[in-house]
Structure formats: structure tokens, C-alpha cells
Amino acid sequence: MTKLLDVKGLHTYYGESHILHGVNFEILPGQAVSLMGRNGMGKTTTLKSILGLVPPRSGHVVFQGEEITGLPTWQRMRKDIAYVPEGRGMFHNLTVKEHLEMAARSNRKGEQNWTCERVLETFPRLQERLSNLGTQLSGGEQQMLAIGRALVTNPELLILDEATEGLAPLIRKEIWEVIRTIKASGISTLIVDKNIQVLKELCDQHIVLVKGQVVFSAGSSQLMQSLDEVESYLGV
């Protein structure tokens, strides 16, 4: 099976400070992968490096067999990657409806499984707030919208950065359900989250970052075996 995403030897800097020290990992089609680590270990930086938002100084990113390292961000996203950023990235001058409409498109295969309507069904809370501006939503509503906005691009790979932050337990469950569903439909996800209990059960692969280096990378069963080690990395 060809890899969906292959990340090889990423070295990323912010100005002079060296943040990622050769991050390697891969995602197979249909897999859900978790990326864990304590605050400031470089999770977000890894995601941004993959997307080209913070271009790495060296290393490669290969998506579906294509080298995408040098491409501008938008071209990478056009290869059906979707991103839910930390901090949500709302547009202050667009309504909820417009957030979804502007993003909606079918993927490269021409499929459009996630439409605006489906997102609104999944998050009925948003349905009520259709004409509110993005920044007028409550924190959790914004989070739902950010996820919905990513889904309507019908990605092959969905990247979530702390996407359940600030969500009520019920909704959080809902999100995990959604991830299960899309996983079942063959879509891969790369999840940054702190909820190891859920991740260990939901994800097939687990990656732990410490100071910009991958210190643990294995499947769920191995995770269960070395749970103590991983928890110590995470400071649980």
C-alpha cells in the first residue's frame, strides 16, 4: 500500500531557534494518527511544516506519492488536505453560512460527501447561528465551524490541531463519532489532542514528540504496552 503522507527528516526553525529536529513519520490511507506531546514540543510546528505555513529548512513531505515539499500552501491543500488550526482561524467578516459556502468543494476524485447541509445536520448548533459572524460565536461554536469548514472541502487527509478544545463533553463525543465515520469512509486523520484515553482507542498510529523529536511511534497495541513510558513523555 502506498503511503498517504510521508514526512521525512523535517528541520524547522523560527528565525534562529531550531524547533523540529528531524521529524519522521508516515500515515497510511485510512489511518487515524495521533500526534501527542506536551506544550511547546512542536506539534503545531510539525503540522505547519507539513502544510508549508512554516517552511522547513530541510526534509521532505510526500503526499500520495507526490513530493509536495516546495509547493505553496494552497496547492498542497488542493491535493485534498484539510486543516483545523489551533485558535480556530475564524473570519471576522464572514457569517457562519459564508464560512461553509466559501470552503465547500468536491475533492479531486469529484466526490462531495460532506456538504454544507450535512455539516449543519451534524452540528445543529450552527444551524441556529447561520447569519452570525464567525467571531460572534461562542468558543465551542467556533470550533464546530472550523471543523465543519474543513470537512466541506472533502479531504483525503484531515488535520486537527486541538480540535476538541473548548467543546462540551456531548459535542466532543460527537466529534469523535464524526472522526470514526470519516475514518470508516477511508479518510485519514492526523489528530493533535491531549486526550490520550480517546486517542489510544480511536487511532491506529501514535506519535509522541519531545522537544521537536519523535520519541515514540507505534501502533495502538504497542502503545498499550508502553503506556507508562508514553505517559511520562506527556507528563500525565
Partner: protein, 259 residues
């Protein structure tokens, strides 16, 4: 802890029939609550229930559509936003709200200086005031950010910024602490640190905590209020609320607690 004990305590903050409407939307509808000194009052509820709105009203960020807010018995809903903080009502924000271009220390110094005065001193250098620095450093250490003291705030990670957010509130040393999802985005260890800290602080302050991390809320709260759709659903001790079927249905969901 139960409500009987609370009754002996002084009411720090009180809302009476508080309403906030956004156009047709009733973000808060007729909320009457009491917050006691030396207690931690947890507020939970589904997304969009109006929790942040309530905090925003309590700290003067928004003006209520109707109803009043009493601080130590005095109505304060009409005073200016900055006067709330001067009365000792401090808050942290759900969306990180710091001075990104300043060092962590400077972030806290701004907060400390409000309390220590001298803001209209045009001549005295801000850098020669060791007292301020000490208090600010202390606040940073309390939240576990001591090692980041001299790093510019925009260069620390998101989780660390969340920590800084709390440190800034602590630095103002308020009587009433309004915390809006302080643990969101924080790692496990840091959350534990904050929980430990809140556990200590609640013996001195009146704390209002909005949080979706149920473990933390259940552990910390002396009183717990559940809000749904701008309405007050119930208030009571943790145990009372946890077992309330309405709460389960609206907020917690059935089954596994870890979610």
C-alpha cells in the same frame, strides 16, 4: 462541600435577573446567581449556553440588556469596564488575550503595576522597580512558566500562552477571579498544576470557573451551576448536579465519564 456552609460566607458577587440579548438571540436570560467569597463556583453548560457571556457581563466587558450585578451588595452594572478590575474583579479569556510583543515578565508587570500604582509617573523608570518584577515572576512561577520569563510571548506555544493568561490574572491579585476555560489547550501536567493552584487559591478568593474539563470542574467546584441556552438549569453541589438527569441529557451525555 454543600450549600449550608456557603450560606455563612459573604456574597461577593451577585446577579439579579441578568439578561443579555444579541438582537433576537437571548444569550443570557434572567440569570440570578450568587458567588461566595472563598469558594469556587463552577459553571458548565453546552457550547453557546452563555457562559462566556455571563463572565463578560461580570467583568464589565459587556453591558447587560437588563438586570443588575452586585459586588459586595453594590450595583456595579453601570460602571465603566476598567472600574470592574479596580474593584478587584479579574478575568482570564477563553481566547488567548495577552501582549504578544512583550516578554512574559512584562505581560505580568503590566498587571502588577495596576495594583501597585504609579501609572501616572512620567519620570521613574519602569525597569528599576524590583518589587514589580518579583511579584510578576512569582505569578509566572505559580503557573509553571518561570523558565519562560524573558521570552517574548508570541514565541511561546499556544499552551504556554494559556498559562501566561492565568499568570496575568493572578498578578492583578483580584478578590474575584473569573476564569474562562483556563485549562483549554493546556497539557496534562500543566492542567494538574493549575488545578492544584486553584485548589489553594479558592480558600482566599472567590473564583468563578467556566470549564469543559469535567474532571477538573468536579474536583474543584464547591458549587456548580449548569446553564443551557442562556437559561439557568440548576445550581448545587457537584454530586447533586452530576446526578441530575437533565444535566446528563443536556450536557454530559450518558455513559463513559472520560469523554
Amino acid at each position: 462541600m454543600n450549600t449550608q456552609v456557603s450560606l455563612d460566607l459573604q456574597v461577593m458577587l451577585e446577579t439579579q435577573g441578568l439578561c443579555k440579548y444579541w438582537g433576537g438571540l437571548k444569550a443570557l436570560d434572567d440569570i440570578s446567581l450568587q458567588f461566595f467569597d472563598k469558594q469556587l463556583h463552577g459553571i458548565v453548560g453546552p457550547n453557546g449556553a452563555g457562559k462566556s457571556t455571563l463572565l463578560n457581563l461580570l467583568c464589565g466587558h459587556y453591558k447587560p440588556t437588563r438586570g443588575s450585578i452586585l459586588h459586595k451588595g453594590e450595583p456595579i452594572e453601570t460602571i465603566k469596564p476598567w472600574a470592574f478590575a479596580r474593584r478587584g474583579i479579574g478575568r482570564s479569556f477563553q481566547k488567548t488575550n495577552i501582549y504578544p510583543g512583550a516578554t512574559c515578565l512584562e505581560n505580568c508587570c503590566v498587571a502588577v503595576q495596576r495594583r501597585m500604582g504609579g501609572s501616572f509617573n512620567f519620570l521613574r523608570s519602569r525597569y528599576t522597580q524590583k518589587v514589580l518584577d518579583e511579584i510578576a515572576t512569582e505569578a509566572l512561577e505559580k503557573v509553571g512558566l518561570g523558565h519562560r520569563r524573558d521570552v517574548v510571548a508570541s514565541q511561546i506555544s499556544y499552551g504556554e500562552q494559556r498559562q501566561l493568561e492565568i499568570a496575568m490574572v493572578l498578578a492583578t491579585a483580584p478578590e474575584v477571579l473569573l476564569l474562562d476555560e483556563p485549562m483549554a489547550g493546556m497539557g496534562h501536567e500543566e492542567s494538574q498544576l493549575i488545578i492544584g493552584m486553584l485548589n489553594k487559591l479558592k480558600r482566599e478568593y472567590c473564583i468563578v470557573l467556566v470549564e469543559h474539563d469535567m474532571d477538573a470542574v468536579f474536583e474543584l467546584s464547591d458549587q456548580l451551576t449548569v446553564m443551557v441556552d442562556g437559561q439557568h438549569l440548576t445550581t448545587g453541589s457537584v454530586d447533586q448536579v452530576r446526578d441530575d438527569p437533565r444535566v446528563k441529557e443536556a450536557y454530559l451525555g450518558q455513559g463513559d465519564e472520560v469523554f
